[in-house]
């Protein structure tokens, strides 16, 4: 049994990277699902995965897809009015094909580039608070001092930053290749 931190790390490493694919897969297979409903299926799937015994899950990716499929199936069966095409789609949901087994992990460079790319889209204060927190290891209190704002405002900025980053992470990274960044130096070599 893993402790909570270890389980969260496992979740981050083994489950979260598959979310963009899962969303694409859900969105493509089930025409009746609006994007909001995809959110709900993903949240429900995560809840189930979280309470499952992580050690026993051989392929988190397949487990995630199958769980999501179950959830969609349950809800379709439960609802009284079901569009015909949705029922038809449910059959195709049963096919867990190669696309599920195909997954390439992002390299460290790509992961960083992606995070930087997302950070560019954050509002300035939000981004500053986030960078002080995550790149400089500041406590919220120190961020508040440094930025000259209330600690509660710092928490709001950070929550918003996390929400925006998490929103962006729902999509697969866009063109990781052009994510090169200006290197900023504070000193000069000979």
């Amino acid at each position: 049994m893993m402790d909570r931190q270890a389980q969260l790390r496992w979740f981050a490493r083994e489950v979260l990277p598959h979310e963009p694919d899962l969303r694409k897969w859900l969105g493509g297979r089930v025409r009746g699902l609006s994007s909001c409903d995809v959110d709900e299926v993903v949240q429900e799937a995560y809840a189930r995965l979280w309470v499952a015994e992580a050690d026993a899950i051989r392929s988190p990716r397949a487990y995630l897809f199958v769980t999501a499929r179950h959830i969609v199936g349950e809800h379709i069966r439960r609802s009284r009015i079901v569009a015909i095409d949705l029922v038809a789609d449910l059959d195709t949901l049963n096919i867990i094909d190669e696309e599920i087994s195909v997954h390439r992990r992002l390299s460290a460079q790509e992961e960083l580039a992606r995070l930087y790319e997302i950070l560019q889209t954050l509002p300035p204060k939000c981004r500053q608070a986030f960078e002080l927190k995550k790149f400089q290891d500041f406590s919220q209190r120190r961020i508040a001092e440094h930025m000259g704002i209330a600690e509660s405002t710092v928490e709001k900025h950070l929550s918003k930053a996390l929400r925006l980053v998490s929103e962006a992470m729902k999509q697969a990274p866009s063109g990781a290749e052009d994510g090169r960044h200006r290197e900023r130096r504070f000193w000069k070599w000979g």
């Binding site: 270890a6 969260l8 790390r9 979740f11 981050a12 979260l16 009746g32 609006s34 909001c36 409903d37 995809v38 959110d39 709900e40 299926v41 993903v42 949240q43 429900e44 995560y46 809840a47 189930r48 979280w50 959830i71 809800h75 379709i76 439960r78 609802s79 009284r80 009015i81 569009a83 949705l86 460079q109 992961e111 960083l112 995070l115 930087y116 500053q128 960078e131 002080l132 995550k134 790149f135 400089q136 290891d137 919220q140 120190r142 928490e155 929550s159 918003k160 996390l162 929400r163 980053v165 998490s166 929103e167 290197e183 900023r184 130096r185 504070f186 000193w187 000069k188 070599w189 000979g190």
Partner: protein, 328 residues
Amino acid sequence: MEDIVSAGSGNGAEIDARASAWAVRSAERPLDPVEQCELDAWLEEDSRHLGAFVRAEALWLDIDRIAALDSGTRRETPPPARQHRWQSYAMAASIAVAMVGGMIAYDRLAGRIATERSEVRRIALDDGSVVTLNGDSAIQVRYSADSRQIILRRGEASFKVAHNAQRPFVVSADGLKVRAVGTEFAVGIEESGIEVTVEEGVVAVGDGANASAQPRYIRRNEQFVAAETGPRKVVLDAADVERRTAWRKGLLVFDGQQLGAAAAEVNRYSDLRVVIEDPTLARAEFMGIFKLGDARAFAGAAARAFNGEVIRRGDELILVRQQNSPSH
């Protein structure tokens, strides 16, 4: 089309927003009992809340890992000013030998160690090397089979490196790479640049972004400064070096320094700030020995020494002379 997933409380986006807020707060500090109840109640309401919450928590935690992949060259926000570090050392304390606290283990998974302002911490690494982290500093430890890498993210750290020629010990700070095999040295990210001070042995300092540049060798009792105006090498005497790396020993000793300068030194390590508004008092010569971070003891001792008193105002300890005038 009817909502095929039962219409629970709130839509996906609203749930994500609340989940993010809870994840940020619970990562910052333990929740108080009222908050814990509130969170538990919210999680009970709908299993989707749990799903969103663990997602937010996992992501928030994982960003630390991603941030750690950054070797410091891409930092966008400059560290806060720690002005005139060496100057203040030179004029202020000579420091007595005493260690505060013992060795602590670090989080092996994340390899991150950060100190609060009032804290100096010694950390034993797996290979037998020892890192001492100054107040308000952070490092990242990345050990592999063939290298020992430390990233200094902010502040200052000193290293006593266990000898192992097969696994070079490399400290990077803002793109500067300091390579050592077995030696003692300190690296600090200062307002004015990056400073490398060598106490024992030799280190090679190189430009991390330009591997072909010739490294510079810095020897015992030498200091290298990579600054905006270009690099320079400073030769120090042994006493200088001792003073400059003396924060590791955990005590501040004042031996006739001006009270104002002494207070500034004390304040570097304390969340409570000692403030002296009276210029005459600030120039008074002061003697005393204090634990790093103990601003209260310092203010109390100074008040006793100069027949003054300490007034607490928020995070400030204001040192004033006792008023003789009864009209006041």
